[in-house]
C-alpha cells in the first residue's frame, strides 16, 4: 500500500466514520420494526372461536348447497322444475322482490314545530339522513326495510331530485313518513336505535322519529325490475374448484 501522510489518513478515517454513521442510520430507518403478535391467550381463544363459528357457518352453507345439487341430480324433470322454482323464489325473497311479513319496528318521522321562529318551511327528509338511518338499521340487525311504500333493496337509489327526496325513483310522500323494518329481534333493534346518532341528526333538521314494535308488519315488494347492467358473470374458476 502506498503510504499516506498522517493528515490524509485522519481525514479519510473521519469520512469513513461519517459514512458508517450514515449507513447505520439509514439501515435503522429502512428496517421497519417487526409486528409482534401481542394478543394474550384470551384474545387468541376468542379469535379461534370466531373462526370456528365462521367455519361452521360455511360448512352448513355448503351442506345446503350440496343438498340442492343432489336434488337437481336425483330427480325427474318435473321435480327439477319444482326445485328450480323453489330456489328462484328463495332468491326473489332475498332480493326483495316479494312482499314480506313479520315482526319488526315501525318508525314514524314527524316534523317538530318547537321553535317556530326558524321553522319557516315545512321540514323534509334529506337523502343523507335516510342513508344514515338505513345504515344504522342495517348495522343493528334489520333484515328488510321499506320507506313509505318503497321497499329498500341493495339497488335502491335514495337521492335528491330538484330539492325533493326520491326513493326508488319515486318521490317520498310528505311527512309523516312511516318506515317499516323487519328484524329477527325487534326489541334489540329498538334498544339500539333509541341511543343511535341518526335520531339526533333528525332532531337537528326539526324531525322527530317515534318507534314502536309491531308483531305483524307487511313490507311491499320492490316493484321495478332490478337494473343489473353493472353486474357481470365471472368466468374465472373460484378458489376451491378443481
Amino acid at each position: 500500500m502506498i503510504e499516506m501522510n498522517i493528515r490524509s489518513k485522519i481525514i479519510f478515517s473521519f469520512v469513513f466514520a461519517l459514512v458508517g454513521f450514515m449507513i447505520a442510520i439509514q439501515f435503522q430507518t429502512t428496517q421497519e420494526p417487526k409486528v409482534r403478535d401481542t394478543r394474550d391467550l384470551w384474545e387468541v381463544r376468542t379469535e379461534l372461536q370466531k373462526q370456528q363459528k365462521t367455519q361452521q357457518e360455511l360448512l352448513a352453507k355448503e351442506r345446503e348447497l350440496n343438498k340442492m345439487i343432489a336434488q337437481y341430480e336425483g330427480q325427474s324433470n318435473f321435480e327439477k322444475v319444482e326445485t328450480l322454482n323453489k330456489s328462484l323464489n328463495n332468491l326473489k325473497l332475498k332480493a326483495g322482490l316479494t312482499e314480506v311479513k313479520g315482526a319488526g319496528l315501525m318508525l314514524t318521522v314527524e316534523p317538530i314545530f318547537q321553535d317556530l321562529e326558524y321553522a319557516e318551511t315545512y321540514p323534509t327528509v334529506s337523502p343523507s339522513l335516510l342513508h344514515q338511518l338505513i345504515n344504522e338499521l342495517n348495522t343493528y340487525g334489520a333484515k328488510d326495510i321499506s320507506i313509505g311504500q318503497e321497499r329498500i333493496t341493495n339497488l335502491s337509489p335514495i337521492r335528491d331530485v330538484n330539492g325533493t327526496t326520491y326513493v326508488n325513483n319515486h318521490p317520498v310522500p310528505p311527512l309523516p313518513i312511516k318506515i317499516k323494518v323487519l328484524a329477527e329481534d325487534p326489541e334489540k333493534l329498538l334498544n339500539y336505535m333509541e341511543v343511535s346518532d341518526s335520531l339526533e341528526m333528525f332532531v337537528i333538521e326539526n324531525l322527530s322519529v317515534s318507534m314502536e314494535i309491531r308483531k305483524k308488519l307487511t313490507l311491499p315488494e320492490y316493484e321495478q325490475t332490478p337494473d343489473l347492467q353493472y353486474l357481470e358473470t365471472e368466468d374465472a374458476t373460484e378458489t376451491g374448484e378443481t
Binding site: 499516506m4 481525514i11 479519510f12 466514520a17 458508517g20 447505520a24 439501515f27 435503522q28
Partner: protein
C-alpha cells in the same frame, strides 16, 4: 490502512447505538446522501491510488456531493419529477467505475510484485 476501517466500524456502531431514526419522509434524502458519500469515498481511494489525492478536493467533494444529492432529491419532489433517479444513476455508474479502477490497480500491483520477485530469483 487499518485506521479508516476501524473508524468505519466505530461510525457504524455509533449509529446503531445512538438509535437515531430519520422520519419516513426524509429517508429518501438520506439514502441518496449515503450513495453520494460512498461515491466520494471510493473516488478518494481511487485518487489516492493514482497519487492524485488532494485533501481539500476530497473533503469539499464529500460534503458538496452529499448536499447536492439531497437537494436534487428535494427539488425532484417539489417538481414532481423523479430527479433522485438522476443522482442514483450518476452515482451508481461512477461507483462501478471507481471500483473497477481500484480493482485494476490492486491486481496490477500484485502482478508487478510477482515479476519483481521472479527477477530477483534469477
Amino acid at each position: 490502512m487499518w485506521l479508516p476501517i476501524l473508524f468505519l466500524i466505530v461510525g457504524i456502531s455509533l449509529g446503531f447505538i445512538s438509535d437515531i431514526r430519520v422520519p419516513e419522509e426524509y429517508a429518501n434524502y438520506l439514502s441518496i446522501a449515503v450513495l453520494a458519500a460512498f461515491d466520494t469515498l471510493l473516488g478518494g481511494i481511487r485518487a489516492h491510488l493514482e497519487k492524485k489525492f488532494d485533501q481539500a478536493v476530497f473533503v469539499s467533494g464529500f460534503f458538496f456531493n452529499v448536499i447536492l444529492a439531497a437537494f436534487l432529491a428535494f427539488l425532484g419532489v417539489q417538481l414532481g419529477v423523479d430527479l433522485y433517479l438522476a443522482a442514483v444513476f450518476a452515482f451508481g455508474v461512477r461507483l462501478f467505475q471507481n471500483i473497477a479502477i481500484i480493482r485494476r490497480y490492486i491486481v496490477d500491483r500484485r502482478s508487478n510484485k510477482k515479476e519483481i520477485e521472479k527477477n530477483e530469483r534469477k
